[in-house]
């Protein structure tokens, strides 16, 4: 009974969170790129940049709406499904969420309305400022959410009082080193998502030789912006991995399917594990490369799953402290793999732009598929972060299984899991349909009214 509640609560959280994060990175990325395009329009008066702002802005808004409505669920579901968690950490975890709403989400949500409806009601300057405030708001929003998440990864700035985590150092909460690797990594991932989205859509039209000027400019902006972003994502990701080895060694060990402590430690090329019997079914490893990734040199001890398990049993008592290894292992590879592929593609894109050879490039028709890469990287990155922390919900302090709401029953959960799945599934179809439709509407004409009144009431 209780097991089913835990499983369903986990599924619901995973479903609603991963789904929410399909939309957030594109919002973060496109907000900034659209703001840059509008700034160029403001500076130069070049109408092409106004069209770009309009066109990409339209797609941005369709995506934005989905991010907003799925975000409301995030604010509510800690209390709904994880009430014991909420009681245990509310004192310190609630604060960044409340600050996010007050400082960032208000800004973003208010000025998005100003931007959409203000094209001819505001001066050009104020209108430009409003999109910048949206971009700043969405990035700030990510910051505060990641302050909250970092606390779950590596808790700081609190004392335990009457069985609850109570904040005693706000500076430590915000200054958590985890924030300062996770925040740039996530936000740059958002910028990369925006860039790859524009790159893919532009390539589609360039391949068909439609609106060549317009999409060549867009392609150029996206490849420059994308290359910088993805390069920095990889760089920061590297530091983040090193931080992980220090603070959450089990996550790294699982992501590398490293059973035994090694020095120098090997990097897995491919591993298929048998988690129950704690051994590899098949494994191919590169010697010393994991040490290099962890410490920037070819030596240094990286601890294995079995050692960490033994240590945790000593600290936290008997129990299983090993997260699902295969999920971590493949999520890590999906993230890193798509990251490097994006680095390659944006470099290729920029090379083609510089050679003025985009239109003649034979493989251009495959570029649109690259839009899937940032989504794969974002989702698998979060799956690694969250699944790799298991069995903890707050690392070292609260197990996920102890965090659920005691009064939420299996039937209530089935209702909400199915309800969210159906509604989210249907909305995904609508969202993709509208994005496709408006991506193809290159004339940027506005939809008009339908006057077919009789049928409306049928």
């Amino acid at each position: 009974m209780n097991e089913i509640v835990i499983t369903l609560s986990r599924w619901q959280f995973a479903l609603t969170t991963v789904y929410h994060f399909f939309f957030v990175p594109l919002t973060i990325g496109l907000a900034l790129i659209v703001a840059i395009m509008q700034t160029i329009y403001f500076r130069t008066g070049d109408l092409m940049y106004k069209q770009m702002t309009r066109y990409w802005g339209k797609l941005f808004l369709i995506n934005f709406a989905m991010g907003v409505v799925t975000g409301i669920v995030m604010e509510f579901q800690f209390g709904m499904n994880w009430s014991e968690y909420s009681r245990f950490v509310g004192d310190i975890f609630g604060a960044p969420l409340a600050i996010e709403a007050l400082v960032a989400f208000f800004l973003e949500s208010t000025f998005i309305g100003v931007w959409v409806f203000g094209w001819d009601k505001l001066s050009k300057k104020i209108h430009l400022i409003s999109i910048w405030l949206v971009a700043i708001g969405s990035t700030l929003s990510a910051f505060w959410i990641l302050v909250a998440n970092s606390f779950m990864q590596s808790p700081m700035g609190f004392v335990l009082e009457n069985g609850r985590m109570v904040m005693n150092d706000f500076g430590a909460l915000v200054g958590n080193p985890n924030v300062w690797v996770q925040f740039p990594h996530t936000v740059l991932g958002g910028y990369t998502t925006g860039a790859l989205f524009i790159l893919g859509v532009s390539a589609y039209f360039l391949f068909r030789k439609e609106r060549v000027d317009f999409f060549q400019k867009s392609f150029q902006i996206a490849s420059i912006f994308g290359l910088i972003s993805v390069f920095l994502v990889i760089l920061v990701g590297h530091s983040q991995g090193q931080h992980m080895v220090k603070t959450q060694p089990m996550k790294m060990a699982a992501a590398e399917a490293l059973w035994e402590t090694e020095n120098p430690a090997s990097f897995s090329i491919i591993s298929i594990v048998d988690q129950e019997n704690q051994k590899d079914v098949f494994s191919l490893r590169l010697p010393a490369v994991l040490s290099l990734l962890s410490y920037n040199r070819f030596e240094g001890e990286v601890r294995g799953i079995k050692d960490i398990q033994a240590e945790y049993e000593k600290i936290y008592g008997p129990g299983n402290y090993i997260p699902p290894i295969s999920i971590n292992y493949w999520a890590f590879r999906a993230m890193v793999g798509s990251g490097f592929l994006m680095f390659f593609l944006t470099s290729l894109g920029l090379y083609l732009v510089m050679k003025k050879n985009v239109l003649n490039f034979k493989l251009l028709k495959f570029f649109p598929f690259a839009i899937g890469l940032p989504y794969l990287a974002n989702s698998s990155g979060w799956i690694l972060t969250e699944v790799g922390r298991q069995p903890w919900v707050v690392f070292g302090y609260l197990r996920t299984s102890d965090a659920i709401s005691p009064n939420v029953t299996v039937s209530m959960l089935w209702l909400s899991v199915i309800g969210f799945t159906v509604v989210y599934g249907a909305l995904m179809v609508v969202d993709v349909y509208l994005l496709t439709k408006y991506a193809k509407k290159i004339t940027v004409d506005e939809p008009k009214r339908t006057e077919d009144e009789k049928t409306y009431w049928e």
């Binding site: 499904n81 609630g94 409340a98 007050l102 208000f106 959409v116 409806f117």
Partner: protein, 338 residues
Amino acid sequence: MNYESIWFLLIAVLFIGYFILEGFDFGVGILLPFVAKSDTERRMVINTIGPHWDGNEVWLITAGGAMFAAFPNWYATLFSGFYIALFLMLIALILRGVAFEFRSKVEDIKWRKFWDWSIFFGSIIPAILWGVAFTNFIRGVPIGENFVYVGTFWDLINIYSIIGGLVTLTGFTVQGAIFLSMKLEKPFANRINNLAMKLWFPNIFVLLLFVIETYFFTDIIDQLGVNPGVVPIGAVLSLLVVGWFIKIKQNGWAFFMNCMAIIFSASTIFLILYPRVMVSSINSIYNLTIMNSASGEYTLRIMTIIALIFVPIVVAYQAWTYWVFRKRITSDPESLHY
């Protein structure tokens, strides 16, 4: 004043702000399928709240976040206890939110009709549920040991809470109608003003019913937190004045007085509650209060500083947006955003 009381007050302010602002958003959404006679008119109706609804909704998000940060036990008990009701509200808010963005994106009557009804249901469900929720705060719900809600969804549904739900439903609808009569171009606005008059009668009727029910059929007045004194009378009087202003077509004043009615009504609830935040119908020792559900003083102090800085800023820029979009919405196709 201790920090717990400051945060009780602040959360009250956030909810009152939410009810005033999203009140007219919900009202407009509820009225949408009925007041507009053509697609142009429907778009005009939506555009009255177009630039504002998203920012208005953040008042709820912030209230929820503030509850989480300042009163984790209140947040945990309320959200897990009212699980099904909140799930319904979330689905409603999701469909309503995307509907505003999606409804005009396809020039097809069935498509638009579907999203218009999503806006309708997405507005009417929360409008009712908020009344149900707040009446249950003061009436009491089955909360047992360790702050855990031990009832079911059906424990939230009773004659009293249904009347409470009707109060918010009719109140928000009137709020929406008055807002529309301020924001639409003249002939259309006059039509809505007449409608507002018709909607005002059921509103004052259920409000009086609610007051009578509170006095004679519940034991709420035997277990008051703070005696609200003349505040509930202020709510009834404000609403009476609203009727007068609608009658003489003073939309601005009608809107102002309806906001006052919302402020007085919600304040009554919060006064009756204080210093409790949720009343247990099982035993008063299980009541959630501002003391036993609050975060530590350090957190409350930090959050107070942040709130004192940012709440005025938010209020200022949101007020500015209403000034920017102060003009009445016309049917001129050039100025209509789709």
